[in-house]
Symmetry: C2
DNA sequence: CGACCGGTTGAAGTATATCAAGTACGGTGG
DNA sequence: CCACCGTACTTGATATACTTCAACCGGTCG
């Protein structure tokens, strides 16, 4: 369990390593959590990338987020009978899996784990708010800019480069997450590229002008601020 | 604390009433939680209505939700230094307030409280997903329909009428929540009214044709389904 | 090789943002 | 009591950024 706590950003206490938490590997494309099914476990991402999506009544899939290392999958199942969203691996990944019963037990025995969970949950809620911010922007460029800056910040937190991003998800997934058509994602990416804010190579993106991106992201209202600001 | 547990949907255990949890009243318009300030307490809504909003960098306010009875305010503060969003009372309300230290203590002593909190958190996460669903609809009528149906469902859960809604928030707040201009909310409300789905009287709304609303809400893609379905 | 998937780019129609005027309501002060 | 003001809400006209439909390119897999 020492590893688990480290992933969650806690220093493991003595005795933590006596408890074994299974590390499970998940291949790209595999659905780790099925929406609608009854929840049995919680998963803490150790490495890799996922997408979470809710399935609307009509079958349309809305991508709500792209959880990565240190994030928790399956929290929505604590309340009850069924998961509200699915989690799908975007690339080969590894997760710690804890049954709900185990979790309850371990949380009581190891307060640091309890606090780590609290923090993780809280972070999750904050991310939900960010999602709202991303989707609330009117212009598609602003949405995209916010999304990229979010990714950039997260990369920085994980100690990686904040200017060279690798997007593990398809344009379609991004489009769904941003609430626009996938063609629009392509176009907006093109615009930002033309304006010199970034460089695109397939799923590799290099942010060139963070300040410019920030100011574009600020455009909450008003279709477009100033292409030639 | 017995009351508190009942509000959260748990049956209070023996001894629960020995612990006093202060019930605090909040007048309409008061900001209970200020975004950016350091978190000190958690609040469980006993009655009334709130809106939660994140303030973007540029000062634009995005409404993320309208918490009501049994919901928890301030969960985003568990992770750390500052609240990510504000909570403002839309009408005169009452909340149970618990300092973070108290909470930690009580959770260990009363497992039912712990579970109730878990459920509440989980519900919160699920609502965040719903927000995404609401904002992902393309046509404004669909967004509005989803929003109203959500409200209707919640009312039903609280044991109130699911067809007569009282919206405690302004059209502007709804607009922000839905990600559209406030004029569009008015117009869409008008449309739905013309189509016989509902009747509007200021902030009182009577849902007339739930089935029709459902089918409108289903329109995730494609501007408008069929005005004369 | 042909089919398929992911991505990019083009052209046309339309829903919605924006600006602007007008209405109803609730308060305050004469 | 009525005039007055501010806020919330409604309604109208125009412009535009987006969706949609479509064709096209470059991979990869059968």
């Amino acid at each position: 369990m020492g590893d688990l706590l480290q992933v969650l950003g806690q220093t493991p206490p003595h005795g933590a390593d006596n408890v074994l938490v299974p590390l499970r590997s998940v291949r790209a494309g595999v659905t780790l959590i099925h929406a609608g099914l009854s929840p049995s476990s919680l998963h803490v991402v150790r490495l890799g990338a996922f997408k979470t999506q809710v399935v609307c009544d009509d079958g349309y899939e809305q991508v709500t987020g792209f959880p990565g290392p240190s994030e928790i999958l399956g929290l929505d199942g604590l309340q009850g009978e069924r998961h509200t969203f699915s989690a799908i691996a975007l690339e080969d990944s590894a997760v710690y899996s804890l049954s709900l019963r185990e979790l309850d037990d371990l949380r009581q025995r190891f307060p640091p784990l309890d606090h780590a969970m609290q923090r993780a949950v809280s972070r999750q809620l904050a991310e939900a708010a960010q999602l709202a911010q991303v989707m609330s922007a009117v212009s598609s460029e602003a949405r995209l800019a916010r999304f990229l800056l979010q990714r950039s910040r997260r990369m920085a937190l994980l100690g990686q480069s904040s200017t060279r991003l690798r997007l593990p998800m398809s344009r379609r997934d991004i489009a769904s997450h941003l609430g626009v058509a996938h063609e629009t994602v392509s176009r907006s990416l093109g615009e930002l590229s033309q304006w010199g804010c970034l460089r695109v190579q397939q799923r590799e993106i290099e942010l060139m002008d963070l300040d410019r991106l920030q100011s574009l992201a600020r455009n909450t209202r008003g279709p477009l601020a100033s292409p030639a600001l």
